[in-house]
Every structure is written in structure tokens, then in C-alpha cells.
Symmetry: C2
Subunit: 293 residues, 2 copies
């Protein structure tokens, strides 16, 4: 059985800085699927795409985003929520608003849309993530991805309040039309490459979204950042070899804690992510090991 | 590889009314673990127990609970958030507060504590959930379960505000002492069976928590319900043979939408849950099927 998407997909979609050594040494092979294993999707996919519990969590996050946006613009903020160049979580500074129009910046995959087509295909075939297949998906997926629960309503409320809705995704610039079509077909309206759609390849930053965020902040007062992985907020969380515990501490420390649900909004995605490199002792502190008698 | 906990565990922990036919016809066998498969935990466990992303989501939920509780008691509510007997989501009525003291009612497993000990053990052994091993865990797990991120602080804030913190869990009454010890060792303070700890076997309701909720509501004005599965809010969501789409519609309709984050609080748990029975077409609407050329 496939263990959701392997690390290659995480890196592609999350914008990690570099390939950690685990990828080279332990590639995830396609597992032989027994008839029983093929009878149902992997548990993380069942949860995210099928459960009422995940639908509630996603809807509630969308409701928080819409409420926050409508409220926030009334405060006429002087700063946005995109970290300024050189700023750290210890010494945060944010891109200023000036007289720029308001914007909310979203990752696309598993933030605005659920990629039902290829996620089912990869899982049902018990095959590893394949960048060539993903590339086809970017080109031809329109109509087979869905807006997440409550996302159409959220996007509509932000736009009605005069807040530009912008996507910053690691889909590739070469497939811009496919991604524009996919977002439109999901009911999310128009995203235009270079204006409200920013893609990998738009600049020399590769999978890091920082340069694209800076380009957006030059034109907009960005009051909302939303994503499913920390690279959607700052590339600082994706520094190579950053230990998992340090990454969590950075992301839950005072600076970040003041931002979550107050400008930075995180969607649940247990299906793929940079945490796929975690080993047993990263996931379970060894002092909590237990075994039955 | 184990696909997280099979349905038996979901039913035990979630309080489902009855065993659906899937359990009898497709038991989850232990999968043969290849060396590669054993190298890392299953993706849902990596995410929940190891990722910064899940830690952020759990901390944010705990912060919302604490803020809501402190705010809510100032409103002197006339009704709590436990559905009254006979009330439905279509025609909701709630247990009245009267002059009763305030309380917040939590599920225990994957709501107050993460069960790191047996979750690692089951996954590392690539073995199916085993109720006998879980029974040992209830008895001997003290010190090997951890309070979830931000939970100690949340519980402290509620108690400081004069709100009783009560657990309503499907751990068994026969192991009351083990569960009291486990919660205390996790830093969550004292829970006392029959007073602030309600267990399966306390009444004739079996794994349904409704009777226990009614018993708590007879003594307390319950302003907060929190859990990781819908059975922690009402047994109506666990009615036998309730189609998945109907369950989601009930849980995201107007009555429920007015309660989420406003009295009802849901924690993420992609590791086990009642949605484990979902098949391919339940998880992925067939009109979204896609395949590469």
C-alpha cells in the first residue's frame, strides 16, 4: 500500500529548500497491494477527503479566514503578514501596507482545492508519486479537482469586501493555463498568471515561495496567508537539516503563535507534507515507548 | 504496513452504536512489513504526532477553547451545548443551565492526551488493533501518554476561571484507576471517576456517550464539548448505516455550523476514526475520477 505521497511530492508541493538525504537513501517503492489493502483508500486519504470531521475542520478554517479578512481591513493595518526580507521569527518585521490594496494569499493544492483525481489514481494503483503524472494533472485536471468545503464561500466573501484573492503555488509556470482552468472549474473564479496566480518558475527562487511573496507584497497589503504547510508562510521553516523539534518550536513560539488564526491560517493535510521524512524517534519520543506485558 | 487503527478501535474510542458489516467481511490483516516500510511510521501518525503542522492546529484549538470558556461564562448562558433528550439537529434544544456550575466536557484519547505508547507499538509491529493490548494500556499507560500541545495550559485556564474540566471517554470503567493515573501523569491534574471522569460501563449506554452527557448536564452547565470524533458531541452522528454524505451534511448544516468553535470544538485525528469504513467511492466522488494519458 502506498503511504500517501512520498517525500518527492512534499518537496514539490511544499517548497522545501533542498532534498534531504533520506530521499536518496530510502526511496519509497510501490508496495504490492493485496486485495484487502486495495479495498479501501489509505486512512489519511479517507480522513481528509471523506470524513465529516475533516470537512468540519476545513469549513471552520475558511470561516475564520473570511471573518478575519472582513474585520481586519477595518483596522487599516500599517503592516501586512508577509515577513520582510531579513526578518526572522526571533526578530520579526513585516512588509508595510502603505496605500496598497488588500490581498489574501493562498497556496492552491490542499488549501483552495483538493486534488481528488491524482490522489485517487496514485493510491488506487498503489504507486509512488510520479512527477510526470503530476505534470499531466496540472495540464488536464480542470473539472476533476474540487474547491474545499466552504472555500467558494470564503473566496466570495473576501472578494466582496474588496480583498484580492491570490494563489502562490508550486505548480509550474509552464502549466499556467491548466492551473487557471482548474481553479476556475472548481468554482473559484479567475486567477491570472502574473497577476493573481504565482507559480514555480516565475523567478529564480525554485520551490521557495519567498521571492514570490515579496513580489506580491510590493503591490498589495497582504493581510492573510493561508496554506497547508509551513513553506506557505516562510521559507525559514524549510531550511535544510532543520531538526523537526526546532521547526515545531519556531512554528509554535511567540511570534508564530501571535499570527496563527490572526493573519496566518493553516489547513489540515495529513496526506502529504514535509513531515514525511520523520522517523520513529522523531514522531514518538523514546521516553514514551511502551509495550504490553 | 498497518493502516492506522482498524475499525474496531474507532468503534471502541468513538462510541459507534453498532458494528457495520464491513468489519465482519473485511478484517484488517497484519501486513508483512518490508524493511523499507518499517523504516518510518505511517504517514497519518507522522503527521499527527510528529509534525509542526498538527502541533499548530492542536494548539490553536486549545487556545480557542480557553478563550471561549473565559468569555462565555461572562454571558451567563441560559442553555448549555449538550443536546437535550429527543432533540435533533433539525430541531435542536439544549440542556438548560439553571444555577448549575460551569463545566467543559472532553473526550480523553486524542483530545486531552496522545496515546504515544500503544500507537507506536501497534504501528511498529505492523499489527492490527488488539483490544487486549489496549486494555493493558488503559491499566499501565501512566507516564507514556502525553498531554497534547497546549492542553495543560488550556485546562489550567478553564479551571482558573472556575469551569470544571470533565472527561467523558470510552475507556472502560473497570480500568478507572489506570485512566485517572494516566491523565494525572500527563500533567492534566485530577480526574475522579464518577465526578469528573465518565467511562464506558458507567451506564447501560455502552459506547454511546449520550447517557453520560445527560448525567453530567444534570449537575453542570456544560458550555464546552470537545472531541476528535462526532460521537463526542451527539450519538446522532453515529446512527447505524447513516450514509457518509448524510453524516457530513448533518455535521456541517446550520445547527452544527452555529456550534463549531462556539461551544463544540473538534481536534484533528487522522490516525483512527469512524471514517475508516469509507470505500473508494465514499472518499472520492466518482465524477472526479481522472487518469493520466
Amino acid at each position: 500500500m502506498m503511504r500517501a505521497l512520498p517525500l518527492a511530492a512534499s518537496l514539490l508541493l511544499a517548497g522545501c529548500a533542498a532534498t534531504p538525504p533520506e530521499v536518496a537513501t530510502t526511496p519509497t517503492p510501490p508496495s504490492a497491494a493485496s486485495p484487502t489493502e486495495a479495498a479501501k483508500p489509505p486512512v489519511a486519504l479517507q480522513y481528509l477527503y471523506g470524513s465529516a470531521e475533516a470537512a468540519i475542520a476545513v469549513r471552520a478554517t475558511n470561516a475564520r479566514i473570511a471573518d478575519y479578512g472582513v474585520w481586519r481591513i477595518k483596522q487599516r493595518p500599517t503592516d501586512g503578514v508577509i515577513l520582510a526580507a531579513g526578518a526572522t521569527m526571533d526578530v520579526p518585521r513585516f512588509e508595510p501596507c502603505g496605500n496598497k490594496p488588500f490581498a489574501a494569499v493562498f497556496d492552491a493544492d490542499e488549501t483552495l482545492i483538493w486534488n481528488l483525481g491524482p490522489m485517487r489514481w496514485f493510491a488506487e494503483k498503489s504507486t509512488a508519486f510520479d512527477p510526470k503524472i503530476w505534470d499531466q494533472w496540472e495540464k488536464t485536471g480542470a473539472g476533476k479537482a474540487v474547491a474545499m468545503p466552504g472555500t467558494v464561500e470564503m473566496v466570495g466573501k473576501l472578494r466582496a469586501a474588496g480583498i484580492a484573492v491570490i494563489a502562490n503555488t508550486n505548480r509550474t509556470a509552464a502549466n499556467a493555463k491548466g492551473s487557471e482552468d482548474t481553479l476556475r472549474a472548481a468554482g473559484l473564479g479567475d486567477f491570472k498568471h502574473g497577476e493573481t496566480l504565482f507559480l514555480m518558475g516565475d523567478d529564480v527562487g525554485g520551490s521557495s515561495k519567498d521571492m514570490r511573496r515579496a513580489a506580491i507584497a510590493a503591490k498589495y497589503c497582504v493581510i492573510i496567508l493561508a496554506g497547508d504547510q509551513l513553506g506557505d508562510f516562510s521559507q525559514q521553516f524549510n531550511v535544510r537539516d532543520l531538526p523537526a523539534a526546532t521547526r515545531t518550536a519556531l512554528a509554535t513560539g511567540p511570534t508564530a503563535a501571535a499570527l496563527w488564526d490572526k493573519g496566518w491560517f493553516l489547513f489540515p493535510n495529513p496526506v502529504y507534507g514535509p513531515w514525511e521524512k520523520l522517523g520513529w524517534d522523531d514522531t514518538f519520543p523514546s521516553d514514551k515507548n511502551w509495550e504490553p506485558k
